[in-house]
Symmetry: C2
Subunit: 422 residues, 2 copies
């Protein structure tokens, strides 16, 4: 299954790409810069740039407090309903609020309180560390003798799906996993794991942060109970944009938000002294949402809906296969190892390449080679494929420059320290 | 102490106002519209409008992921340190994060866990309802038999300071109050109540949302333990902009954030599986902050620092006295009652006027009279005085139009329903 290695071949793939024109929907101020980090922070959509002026100058500057009645107040549900279409959920099952970690806290605490008598939480060691920290904090807070079982991946790349299934029993309150794993890009079989958890009476919570917008997700089909996800990666919502949460409709009345605030109050402008939760998902709001960051999620979601998730996934699969084939031919001989699943059905839309000089290679790539990947300790250069704007030529150039950095030892001028963020 | 009632007199006061020129720092697109709701949503600073373009188009659009190392990552502390100067705190005692309600949850839970054995929480019925909801939720979650004592105001206007002091005993874990009360504008004596709480070993948490930027606050002088506050009122941070929290330096190591997330992790990019809190206040961060809403707080804070809180308070006092004198002469005869303290030392920077037709008057004012106040059930028209841009003429015009709405019964065309937000 060898592919031609030339740049011309990459250009030909771009010419055949029916989604290629979506790149024009994004601000690309420096065409020389290859951006391979859309899985960490998505690019700025042109529609967002335009909408930002209207939002700040007209909605805030001119309409002032009236903005609340003219779209701000309902933005959490309105944008949530659009995200629902990307993840196979009903419009009233998704709402935008707070950060991914705060939403996880709310849902985990709610789930554990609804599952009294069950003491186990199950996850894996590939889960995003913030999720593990939130679980640890929630358990410590509840003081009910919960135990967090972190199942180890056999190889640090593939999720321990079989081991998780073997570990499930009637004591499990909640199984929670990242659908697409942040480091390796491993993609869990959502339906299979959800079914297994349900068979012992456990609830299931999926973190969709590295899936939403790049991998088709069907929460309803898999009968998923709970989900969270972030909007600043493939949804292109802007740095740190608020996160979303999903609760299966039938569960919504059974769960209560532990961080009960006025935005989740029924009839909030009555200013009653006692908390009475709003109907449906709105009770999972807490404080006043950051309207600028929240509103600017919407144009990016609209672009995704227009392109369609199935077409995006097809392109993403083609691109990650292409990247892996180039790795095999060009980078593997230079000491790069593939730290992502080889099977396309088992990976999301980013690829990790390990190298013993990974960190220094990453720094050379950023500073000298006009390529922006990201880096995940200890040695992973993580390459994000954002099918809305990543081109095959981007991938080809990235591989060529990675090769050059190693072949010419361009990394040797860099220290062995870790920068704060890469 | 009668004052002249003419518009000319208001113009003369404006001519004498040494802060008047600060109004030019704000976007005022419609000079005919009188904005009396800066205590709910502050106006858009021109510097923010400019900075928004740089933030979105350059920092996000061009610098992309590199933005994290170029100011985003440290924004919570950087902006927190500036807010610290407005509230008499040290630079490392304030950080910006999440919403006011989420911050309250974090601090209340942390305080109750540090105060084991004490079961009482004391507050009043003038506190912002969201604060009460958070307290209720935290108590229910901890299941330690805590009791929330909501001390009643004698008249719905003045805080029950004496009753609170009488109620304090060795069982009190935490006293928490709004420094300036959202409905009446009553202003607590922070030092006195803090001293009283400390004398029985209680911690104290002040909600500064309606004070910060309008009322001088000296947390250090009063030896306050904990505080929270919002940035979208007098700080002009933008709708729903993230909130701040304060923890007295000596307490920082004793308290733990119950919503432990990666932004509060020591060495977060090591991606360790176990949570290990960061040093100092950074552990009270949780998830990735909404950078656009967060960053846009800063220019507004800079304007406040330039104007100076003492000068702003002096103007605010002069303006609220002026408004009350106009009320007495013009509005009281039409059935308006003063629902704010008459003593200037006991009120913040907004004035509530009650009227049995309050809601309909509010609607007429907004829809027909080009005045934007806000409304707080059941009958309060709340008039915010934002000394950076509210003019004496604004106040005069507001009173004149309020009078006209009632004298000419212009409110009669409106229904008796409550709109979602006013």
């Amino acid at each position: 299954m060898a592919i031609p290695l030339s740049a011309d071949y990459a250009s030909m793939l771009d010419a055949q790409d029916r989604l290629a024109h979506f790149r024009e929907r994004f601000v690309v101020p420096d065409p020389e810069l290859i951006y391979m980090d859309g899985n960490s922070l998505g690019r700025l959509p042109k529609a967002t740039q335009t909408y930002a002026r209207e939002l700040i100058e007209t909605q805030w500057g001119t309409r002032l407090i009236r903005g609340w009645n003219e779209g701000w107040f309902t933005a959490p549900e309105r944008i949530g309903a659009k995200i629902a279409r990307l993840i196979g959920a009903q419009p009233d099952e998704v709402i935008v609020a707070d950060s991914t970690s705060v939403n996880l806290f709310k849902l985990v605490v709610a789930a554990l309180r609804a599952q009294r008598g069950r003491t186990r939480l199950v996850t894996d060691d590939l889960n995003f560390p913030s999720d593990l920290y939130v679980l640890q904090g929630a358990i410590e807070l509840l003081e009910k003798g919960h135990r967090l079982d972190i199942i180890s991946s056999p190889d640090g790349i593939h999720g321990p799906a079989a081991e998780i299934q073997a570990s499930l029993d009637e004591q499990v309150a909640l199984l929670t996993l990242s659908h697409t794993v942040f480091k390796s890009g491993y993609l869990y079989d959502m339906a299979e794991l959800t079914r297994a958890a349900h068979s012992v009476g456990s609830l299931v919570l999926w973190d969709l942060s590295h899936s939403v917008g790049a991998v088709p997700v069907d929460l309803n089909a898999a009968q998923v109970d709970l989900a969270i996800g972030c909007t600043y990666k493939y949804l292109n919502g802007g740095p740190g944009a608020p996160a979303f949460l999903y609760i299966r409709r039938e569960l919504q009345e059974r769960l209560g938000n532990p961080i009960s605030g006025w935005m989740g109050q029924r009839d909030l402008f009555n200013f009653a002294l006692d908390y009475k939760p709003a109907m449906g998902l709105r009770q999972f709001l807490t404080g006043t949402p950051p309207i600028l960051s929240l509103s600017l999620i919407e144009p990016g979601v609209d672009v995704l809906l227009e392109a369609g998730l199935d077409a995006l996934r097809a392109k993403s699969e083609q691109q990650s296969e292409y990247l892996i084939q180039l790795w095999e031919a060009v980078l593997k001989p230079e000491g790069f190892v593939l730290n992502s699943p080889r099977d396309v059905r088992k990976r999301g839309s980013h690829i990790s390449l390990g190298h013993q000089e990974g960190l220094r290679i990453d720094m050379a790539l950023i500073n000298d080679m006009q390529v922006l990947p990201d880096f995940r300790a200890p040695d992973n250069i993580r390459l994000g494929l954002a099918p809305l704007y990543t081109s095959f030529s981007d991938i080809h150039t990235t591989v060529t420059r990675l090769h050059q950095v190693v072949a010419d030892k361009l990394y040797e001028q860099y220290p062995h320290e870790v920068p704060i963020v890469t």
